[in-house]
């Protein structure tokens, strides 16, 4: 084979490789489209086959054809708000501590621990919830059962912490050193600088962190299914926090295994999936837009 032939041979091979690479690049779009397509294909018929009075009714009794989405939506909302109330202050506080205050050794202890938490499978969290947390909370609060929205919220709060800590910490670290120095030069203490300069400068990143954390909580499935008691009732008042609830994710996970393909129940579960998909889409797109805006602004500053 002479060299020019070898070269043209290689060229064809290389062309093929580049086509494959390009195709792989488009895969994300293809997969998202496929996910949309199949959720719609299986779930949209629910809107026509299940009476709206049932979908918007007050009860979730699949056996009697009662498919009210409201209790599940509220269940998810209750747990999510509870988890956010725990995860946001702890997560942001820890991020600020790691990035601004902690001595080196403390950083080196904290960061791997947070990473370990991020790596914990959700089923392990659920297991701990059942065996340790819920009996503890039941005794502590004198409840009839430990499997409540509150238990779920505590657990999911911790599940969301790693996301919040790592994204917020990145945002804080990205704040230029000179901002802080300028503040010190004006006579501010480190503490004043953190809250008056550093955190406000990183606010869009911190906002992104909170949104992604909330996204993580809404989508969390196994842990929440294992500890929230799975009662699809409309929660009311503050006491609802300490009663069993049923979230959207848990409903899908718990019931999909037992339904006939194509039945009303099956379609409604996919419909819930569509709702979850829309929620995550909204949250992630917003977070993406926020963090992208920040990126653009930084680029302008640097150029």
């Amino acid at each position: 084979m002479n060299p020019s032939q070898a070269a043209s041979h290689e060229k064809i091979g290389e062309r093929l490789i580049v086509y494959l690479i390009r195709f792989a690049g488009y895969l994300s779009i293809i997969y998202v489209s496929l996910i949309c397509l199949f959720l719609l294909k299986e779930g949209a018929p629910a809107l026509f086959n299940v009476p709206l009075s049932s979908l918007f009714g007050p009860f979730w009794y699949p056996i009697e054809g009662q498919f009210a989405l409201w209790p599940l939506l509220l269940g998810s909302l209750t747990v999510t708000i509870g988890a956010a109330l725990i995860a946001v202050p702890l997560g942001i506080g820890t991020a600020v501590y790691i990035s601004e205050v902690a001595p080196r050794w403390a950083k080196e202890v904290l960061k791997p621990l947070v990473e370990i938490l991020a790596g914990l499978p959700s089923v392990v969290l659920g297991f701990i919830g059942i065996l340790v947390l819920s009996p503890f909370l039941r005794r502590l609060l004198g409840l009839p059962t430990g499997l409540t929205a509150f238990t779920g919220a505590v657990l999911l709060g911790w599940a969301a912490i790693p996301t919040i800590v790592s994204v917020a910490e990145d945002a804080l670290n990205a704040v230029p050193r000179s901002y802080r120095d300028a503040s010190y030069a004006l006579g501010a203490t480190q503490w004043q600088t953190i809250w008056a300069v550093t955190v406000p400068a990183a606010r869009s990143g911190i906002l992104t962190a909170i949104m992604l954390g909330i996204g993580r909580v809404i989508g969390e499935t196994m842990a929440v299914m294992m500890v929230t008691g799975n009662a699809p009732v409309v929660p009311s008042g503050l006491r609802a926090l300490f009663a069993p609830v049923r979230t959207m994710t848990a409903t899908i996970a718990a019931e999909m295994g037992e339904v006939a393909n194509g039945s009303q129940h099956y379609q409604v579960l996919f419909l819930i999936g569509i709702l979850l998909f829309i929620f995550s889409l909204t949250i992630n797109l917003t977070a993406f837009a926020i963090s992208n805006r920040r990126l653009k602004r930084t680029e302008r500053l640097l150029s």
């Binding site: 290389e14 580049v18 494959l20 690479i21 390009r22 792989a24 690049g25 488009y26 895969l27 779009i29 997969y31 998202v32 496929l34 996910i35 199949f38 959720l39 294909k41 299986e42 702890l90 506080g93 820890t94 205050v101 403390a106 904290l110 947070v114 990473e115 370990i116 790596g119 499978p121 959700s122 089923v123 392990v124 297991f127 059942i130 911790w158 006579g187 501010a188 203490t189 480190q190 503490w191 004043q192 953190i194 992604l212 989508g219 969390e220 499935t221 196994m222 294992m226 994710t249 899908i252 996970a253 999909m256 999936g273 979850l276 998909f277 995550s280 889409l281 992630n284 797109l285 977070a287």
Partner: protein
């Protein structure tokens, strides 16, 4: 230091505020991580007595209340390998496209938006999708194949974004020099960029697979089995898996000995966190071997 503040606020001076504030932040961090440490110790203490040779090499017996968890361990290994097969090649290729080829245009932005979405979709929704596409539409049935494919799509964004980061960390000048010597883009990627970012890519891939190995929701309706008397014979068989098995024995089986539950948790954690540890070691080694 702050004289003015000293005069106005005799008690809550800026310095005292700072001491209090730092104390509060330290407390918050301790509250955040203490449960993790406590849990780790607790699980190891409770789970260690259950771990012995039989536990990891035997089938479950007596309705899973005795014996070992071999099928679950093997199942998780099968699923992880399957996920690796379906997620690493396209994930790395997609990252190469984004880092080395993609022009700065609307389509590339659309890819990034799609990736962000893919990363945020709840795991149970992946389960639904896998059920709809792989199990029913493509007729793979509940099987290792369907579950691996589902997990691989979920893992893809992690692999793409970590790989892209690793590729981008290779200095741009190497590419310019290589191209200036008459190399094509692909030759540049293959001979210079990929070897230099390999460690970073491996780290990212392991972190992605680690997540997949611990997932339960995506495999619930696509490939996980409650109990199987024998090991899966082909990729089209369903399989037991550690995370699902843990779910089963902690919620679905009455009278389950606690020791077996903790033992299962410990094995699952060793599996998952062990992968994490390997990734960390590779990452720290890579910095030492860098050639720039």
């Amino acid at each position: 230091m702050n004289k003015q503040a000293n005069q106005k606020l005799p008690f809550l001076t800026a310095r005292r505020m700072q001491t209090l504030g730092f104390g509060a932040l330290t407390l918050v961090s301790v509250v955040t991580v203490l449960p993790i440490i406590a849990l780790g110790v607790f699980i190891v203490v409770q789970g260690m007595p259950a771990i012995n040779w039989e536990f990891i090499t035997d089938f479950p017996q007596n309705g899973m209340r005795a014996g070992g968890i071999l099928p679950a361990i093997l199942g998780t290994i099968y699923l992880t390998i399957g996920t690796a097969i379906f997620s690493i090649p396209p994930g790395v290729a997609a990252a190469i496209y984004l880092a080395e080829y993609a022009p700065d245009n609307q389509l590339t932005r659309a890819i990034r938006v799609a990736m962000v979405n893919l990363a945020g979709i709840p795991s149970v929704v992946y389960g639904l999708f896998g059920l709809g596409l792989f199990v029913i539409f493509l007729r793979f049935g509940t099987s290792i194949l369907a579950a691996s494919l589902t997990l691989s799509i979920m893992t893809l964004p992690v692999i793409i974004s970590t790989t892209e980061e690793a590729l981008r960390s290779v200095p741009h000048d190497f590419r310019v020099v290589s191209i200036s010597l008459g190399a094509t883009r692909w030759q540049t990627v293959w001979r210079i960029v990929l070897p230099q970012s390999l460690a970073g890519i491996i780290t990212g891939v392991i972190l992605g697979l680690e997540r997949a190995a611990g997932e339960t929701a995506p495999i619930l309706f696509t490939g996980a089995a409650f109990f199987l008397p024998r090991l899966p014979q082909s990729p089209l068989d369903p399989t037991m898996a550690l995370p699902y098995h843990l779910f089963v024995i902690s919620t679905q089986v009455p009278g389950m000995p606690v020791q077996i539950q903790y033992g299962t948790v410990l094995v699952l954690l060793v599996f998952v966190l062990g992968m994490n540890l390997i990734a960390t070691v590779i990452r720290s080694r890579m910095r030492a071997r860098r050639q720039w």
